[in-house]
Amino acid sequence: MTNWGMIIDLQKCIGCYSCMISCKQEHFLPPGVFWNRVIIGEDGKYPAVNKQIYPVLCNHCVEAACVKACPTRATTRRDDGIVIIDYDKCVGCRYCLIACPFQQRTFYTDGEKEYFPGQGLTEYEEIGRRLYPLETGTVMKCNFCSERIDAGIEKGLKPGTDREATPACVIACPTEARVFGDLDDPNSEVSRKLREEKGVQLHPEYGTEPSVYYVG
């Protein structure tokens, strides 16, 4: 079996927002919608302070709360571990928004909202609406770039190794802080790093079994 997962190395990450913006670019996401975010803060007391930079995205949980909450089975977990939303089935009830303990979901309402307010859609936004159609009135979130993975596999490429088949945020990261691959393959880089560097999940106490891990 395949179980796609990701490790983010917080020691390598410098908080440049490349993941967040590359994701927006990849999926032509409208203003205010983020499938990737970077949460920045600090802990400790002066002068023993640590800056905290947490890039976050959908955790593609094994026991996903959103999957359980979805009354129309629009949100499902694929056999390869990717949690996806079928926009045709989503009725916009937003139960999943409340159920997700990681606040990774956005209800998309305004399809006309442009990045330069009052100045119309740019050429990039216009072609984006057609190349990567999003459905208003539905909920959306990170899909681990399933379209890249699926198309890549079809071409015989290996996600996590070949750029074309790897999520956009992973290949965009200038510090290579993100590693993507098959958690079920003990020889994949993601499994090796998880093992050797003892990756941890966000909020394991929720019991959702995230497929996104953090080290560093």
């Binding site: 020691q11 002068p47 990039y124």
Partner: protein, 899 residues
């Protein structure tokens, strides 16, 4: 309703370079149906991170497609100029624009080219473009005018850091050799954490190094970019960097007695004998001084062949302790250099430089540094000890069959540490720390780059190297084929001060790095009057530079801009400069529509360093140019033609780019950006590598040699740990001061690397109990990145970018709470406002503001009104410049209150 998928009739990737900061990473852009839809890092090039890209880079699509881009030339119809003025633009044709510009330019150039001011941008690090602009100026003016420079020069740039890096590392800047470094000390630098030269290459390597276990100690007022990624964040108040570095040097030399004796003897002036006059004791007697004057140097592009020593037969002496007599420093028969002791040569009492330095450093105890910097003395002592231990003096490493010194410890300084009245000495102090442990341009140490290139293999072009110059010191012919276009980035050899009665006091404070602030200084008229200049700046062309917002204190800049009769701006947007002051605005292409050979030139901003290879990229248009925007080369060429200077323009290009035979432009040849790139490419890389080849392949690559990466070991040249030349320069400036009444501060013209408190540190009014400083945010460059909505979203998500930050305890003591709108006021009554964000990771005495926020131009609606403007707090006058290199003091003392 779902939109229908378009029929795909075009689907291609274009290889080019990023233009969001001067690092200019290699990128590839996906174009579908004539629209650029994706930017990625170029995976096959280390001119960048090898595939990654930062957030600013991705957001480039929103530069390209910003509906606020200029599409046609504009003419001001409101004669009223000033901050916040409404220009009442009228759209005009290019022909009309040239008709407005050319007669005025002709007049000023005929009457006095010194009264013409050309300012370019540093937000893109394309030296090549700066070359093009300077070629234009040389061609139309017949020479380089007194005043020209990059917008933000002195404010955002690293005049002090470049000076020290030039002299010591033959480079523009310094960086740890992350592939091998185990211990890095940062003084106000973001190398490897998102900004700085070779930004994303450094980011990738630094991340790997941290992962491998490299320890980073960061001296920084804020635990954010550099401090936030450090193993150990050491909070400092602004302007104490040099003091801390010198106290560490003291620990090494006088407490631990650990330093690299071989390096000091063979690679520095440590053994040179110095008399009581603080000058070298020479073979035949005192030096006679310089032969070439500043004006010859700057205007003619000629290199001054010699500096303090008047020729090569009057060399400085050293003491040989075995033969017990003085010898010239490079006598092949020297058995053992003395580094200490009292000697007498021809009746002159003298000591080796190192002894003077060692004695001098005793003043810099960690306790003294603790008192002023707030860092406990024992911490400074511990860090110095860890540093020298990590340097593992005496160890070696074998790379490609060469046995090299291995010094995996590095200390670096950049903008934050150097942007003070004491910045010049601070940078040399950090260099001294490296020199003492022999950690300069050797594996693991501090690197200058790309200091040496042995050339593209099949043509030998693009070759430059440091070499042994006058008095044995490191000089460089950097810029290879471009040599002579730009002053080399030394400034080395330096020049003797002279009052040329022009507009630029850099002729007097001659150690000043290229570029000047004088034209915007509040005391400019007083200085010009005392210099006896009759010139007056009348016309300005700003070439992609927001000269107003990139100048320390836009209120001073506004006064200066009002004095100019005619201002032309070539830019992609309207901004605070155009709206307030421009008479004509010309619509520019952005980097994704541009075409040039930036990547060919001897770039000092963005090459890979260490053993990562050579990569030379081109910039090429990814989509068709919209509206009436024109490429910068086209505009300069057309202006030159209108001025009747076509032949001079083409000839200058041939000369400065060394275009020969078929590649040289003939007087009747047509000129275009593509033509220029094609000819330069063929000249450098052979006929098979012209425009067509580069257009398809994007870049050319060849491996680097050890002799290039770690050149120090292979180049027999010394660098100073004692700045003897400052003595002579100081004496000369003193006499100019006396003649003119100019009061240039002489207190830092001391050859011993020193630390002096800044005027800001000396303020003792208790009302101004806090320092305020600005920092480079990872997601921003210069003043041009606030307009992209994706970057705006990131900035709003960031807790600090748009806010004024303060230590939590400090705020509580002042009764301030998070979210308060506060006013920050300097002791000179300058004010700015913003929203308060509290931090633990901030020095209790320091308030922070991200650089370059606070836009108000209508032409950039996304940027408008975001964040707080820091620069308006700054003074811009001689008192607040480093007197040696004219870098601007970029901290202020403030009081803070809730509005």
């Amino acid at each position: 309703m779902k939109a229908s998928r378009p029929e795909i009739y075009e689907d291609r990737w274009v290889k080019t370079m990023c233009g969001r900061c001067y690092a200019m990473c290699g990128i590839r852009v996906h174009v579908v149906n004539g629209v650029a839809v994706k930017i990625e890092g170029e995976p096959d090039s280390m001119h960048g991170s090898g595939g990654g890209i930062c957030g600013k880079g991705v957001a480039g699509l929103q530069v390209l497609y910003d509906p606020n881009r200029l599409n046609v030339p504009l003419k001001r119809t409101n004669p009223e100029k000033g901050l916040y003025a409404d220009p009442k633009w009228q759209e005009i044709s290019w022909e009309e624009a040239y008709n407005e510009i050319v007669p005025r330019m002709k007049k000023v150039l005929e009457e006095n080219p010194n009264e013409f001011f050309f300012q370019w941008s540093t937000s893109r690090g394309d030296q090549y473009r700066a070359f093009g602009e300077m070629q234009f100026i040389q061609a139309v003016c017949g020479r380089i005018p007194d005043i020209m420079g990059a917008g933000g020069g002195g404010l955002h740039c690293g005049k002090a850091a470049h000076s020290a890096a030039g002299v010591v590392h033959s480079s523009w800047s310094i960086v740890p050799d992350f592939r091998y470094c185990n211990y890095a000390i940062y003084f106000g630098s973001s190398k490897g954490v998102g900004s700085g030269h070779s930004a994303m290459f450094s980011a990738k390597l630094a991340a790997e190094a941290r992962h491998r276990g490299m320890k980073v100690v960061s001296f920084d007022p804020m635990c954010n970019f550099s401090g936030g990624k450090a193993t150990e964040w050491v909070p400092v108040t602004p302007g104490t960097d040099g003091l801390i570095a010198l106290s560490m040097c003291n620990v090494l030399v006088n407490e631990l007695g650990k330093y690299d004796v071989d390096y000091l003897k063979n690679k520095t002036n440590a053994p040179y004998l110095v008399g009581l006059d603080m000058k070298y004791v020479r073979e035949k007697g005192p030096a006679r001084g310089l032969k070439i004057s500043q004006s010859e140097y700057v205007r003619g592009g000629a290199r001054p062949g010699l500096y303090i020593g008047d020729d090569d037969t009057n060399k400085p002496l050293v003491w040989d302790t075995i033969d017990n007599r003085a010898k010239v420093y490079d006598d092949p028969g020297i058995k053992e250099y003395a580094l200490d002791g009292d000697y007498e040569v021809r009746g002159i009492k003298c000591h080796p430089v190192f002894q003077l330095v060692k004695e001098h450093l005793k003043d810099y105890t960690p306790e003294k540094a603790a008192e002023l910097s707030g860092i406990p003395g024992e911490n400074i002592r511990r860090i110095a000890t860890e540093f020298v231990n990590a340097a593992s003096i005496g160890s070696t490493i074998t790379i490609d069959g060469h046995i090299l010194p291995f010094r995996p410890a590095s200390a670096i300084i950049f903008r934050g540490g150097q942007g003070h009245e004491n910045g010049f000495h601070a940078c040399f102090a950090v260099c001294l720390l490296n020199q003492l442990v022999g950690s300069a341009d050797v594996p693991g140490g501090t690197l200058g780059w790309p200091a040496r290139s042995l050339g593209y293999p099949s043509t030998g072009e693009l070759s430059w190297s440091p070499y042994k110059g006058t008095d044995g010191f490191l000089e460089t012919n950097h810029f290879g084929p471009m040599a002579g276009v730009m002053a080399s980035h030394g400034p080395w050899p330096t020049n003797m001060p002279e009052n040329n009665h022009g507009l630029n006091p850099n002729c007097i404070t001659s150690v000043g790095h290229i570029g000047t602030n004088i034209n915007f200084q509040s005391d400019r008229h007083e200085i010009w009057e005392k210099m006896g200049t009759k010139d007056k700046l009348k016309m300005m062309i700003a070439w992609g530079s927001n000269s107003l917002l990139s100048t320390a204190n836009h209120e001073h800049a506004a006064n200066a801009l009002k004095e100019m009769e005619f201002i032309v701006v070539y830019d992609i947007f309207n901004n605070e400069l155009t709206e307030g002051f421009a008479d004509i605005v010309l619509p520019a292409v952005c980097y994704l529509e541009d075409c040039d050979g930036s990547g060919f030139a001897g770039q000092n901003f963005n090459h890979a360093y260490g053993m990562d290879g050579w990569f030379c990229h081109i910039v090429q248009p990814v989509v068709e140019v919209k509206g009436e925007r024109k490429k910068w080369q086209t505009v300069l060429y057309e202006l030159a033609c209108c001025l009747g200077k076509k032949e001079q323009f083409l000839q200058t290009i041939n000369n400065t780019l060394s275009l020969r035979s078929n590649n040289a432009f003939k007087p009747d040849d047509d000129f275009s950006a593509e033509q220029l790139v094609d000819r330069v490419a063929k000249q450098l890389f052979g006929d098979e590598h012209g425009w067509e080849w580069f257009s398809e392949n994007g870049f050319i690559h060849w491996p680097k040699k050890v002799e290039e990466a770690y050149w120090r070991h292979f180049v027999d040249a010394r660098v100073p740990i004692y700045l003897e030349y400052l003595v002579e320069i100081g004496e000369k400036i003193k006499s100019i001061n006396e003649e003119t009444g100019l009061g240039f501060d002489l207190s830092q013209y001391t050859p011993l690397i020193s630390w002096k408190p800044t005027s800001v540190q000396r303020i003792d009014d208790p009302r101004y109990d806090l320092y305020c400083f600005s920092y480079r945010d990872i997601i921003h460059t210069g003043s041009s990145t606030m307009e992209q909505p994706w970057i705006d979203e990131a900035s709003r998500m960031n807790p600090y970018t748009y806010n004024i930050t303060m230590n939590r305890d400090t705020a509580q003591k002042k009764g301030l709470t998070e979210g308060d709108i506060i006013e920050v006021e300097t002791d000179r009554g300058r004010k700015t406002q913003g929203r308060l964000k509290l931090m633990e990771g901030q020095h209790p005495k320091v308030v922070g503001i991200a650089a370059n926020s606070g836009h108000w131009a209508k032409g950039q609606p996304i940027a408008r009104g975001k964040g707080s403007n820091f620069d308006v707090l700054l003074e811009l006058d001689q008192e607040h410049l480093d007197p040696i290199c004219t870098t601007i003091e970029t901290s202020v003392r403030v009081s803070v209150r809730k509005t």
